[in-house]
């Protein structure tokens, strides 16, 4: 058991930084913002609603769970949580999301809002010979 920081520790730290940065950049490259993204709201592992994030669509949804409530608002193609009963209010701080792959989570109320791209209209535009 050594008691001073040495080169192997630094190598481990640099290794972790490199791999984490790689994954962060890779994830942010795959986020697409489009007019046809769908936000799916899961409360306690059940789908409570699916909403298209169009520019002109406005809605307010109140989701109740066994531990509390979340008030969700959709406007200008973005979805966010306006009010919640959770003690840390972290879900409000996660802000507004609109790109596919982005999530808002409320752990105490078991609520996830996921944004996905609309897959129903994708056509095959290239088939390899």
């Amino acid at each position: 058991m050594k008691t001073k920081i040495n080169i192997y520790d630094m190598l481990l730290i640099i290794f972790i930084i490199v791999i984490s940065s790689f994954f962060i950049l890779y994830n942010s490259r795959n986020i697409t913002y489009s007019n046809t993204n769908i936000a799916v709201i899961y409360s306690e592992d059940k789908i409570v609603g699916e909403y298209i994030l169009k520019e002109s669509y406005k809605n307010e949804i109140a989701v109740k769970s066994s531990n509390g409530y979340n008030n969700i608002k959709i406007e200008n193609g973005k979805i966010w949580i306006e009010g919640a009963s959770c003690p840390d209010q972290y879900c409000i701080h996660q802000g507004k999301i609109s790109g596919n792959g982005e999530n808002i989570v409320c752990l105490p109320n078991k609520l996830i809002i996921k944004v996905m791209s609309d897959k129903k209209n994708k056509e095959i535009d290239f088939i390899a010979p």
Binding site: M1, K2, T3, K4, I5, N6, Y8, D9, L12, I13, I16, I17, I19, S20, S21, F23, I24, N27, Y42, D45, D88, Y90, C91, H93, Q94, G101, N103, V105, C106, L107, K110, I112, K114
Partner: protein, 173 residues
């Protein structure tokens, strides 16, 4: 040390770990990930592993999680803390046994912090039944480097002191 001294010391360590958990629960880290915590209780875990060994440190971790559930938590946070505590004890003990020549305590505590965060994310992915929770893993690994270094420096300080004063071992174990 006699058996009585051992038990008293282990209970003091458990109480210290509970105090650290309560204090770090009051420090929110709002900009990283939901439920992210600094992991200060790993100071006590690592000290127990170095001085007492695997079984006693596992006992301290499990006792701390059970008592924290009775004191300040709910059963869900118990599941999070017990899985991440047990896994980080296993990883830190293996790290200490097999990589003694290479890593100092700082490297081992960074490993412990990363397994702590990764197992918390895994538990939340299982509870929410969605793999998208793993997108929080890279940024939590970056944060766990900082907390791992801090925990490692503190553990080095504590174990040096304890080895010198309590156990009268001035050489490195």
């Amino acid at each position: 040390m006699s058996k009585l001294q051992r038990y008293i010391f282990l209970s003091l360590l458990t109480a210290g770990a509970m105090i650290l958990s309560i204090i770090e629960g009051m420090i929110p880290l709002p900009f990283i990930a939901p439920g992210a915590r600094l992991g200060l209780a790993n100071i006590v875990t690592l000290t127990a592993i170095v001085i007492f060994g695997f079984k006693d440190s596992m006992l301290v971790v499990i006792l701390r999680c059970v008592l924290m559930m009775f004191v300040a938590g709910n059963p869900i946070s118990f599941i999070y803390s017990v899985t991440s505590g047990v896994l980080s004890v296993i990883v830190m003990h293996m790290g200490l046994k097999y990589t003694k020549k290479y890593f100092s305590l700082i490297g081992i505590s960074v490993l412990g912090a990363i397994t702590h965060n990764a197992s918390q994310i895994t538990v939340s992915a299982i509870m929410f039944e969605s793999l998208s929770m793993y997108t929080y893993l890279p940024i939590m690994s970056l944060v766990s480097i900082f907390t791992g270094c801090f925990v490692g420096y503190t553990s080095i300080y504590i174990t040096d002191n304890l080895n010198k004063n309590l156990l009268n071992k001035t050489k490195e174990v």
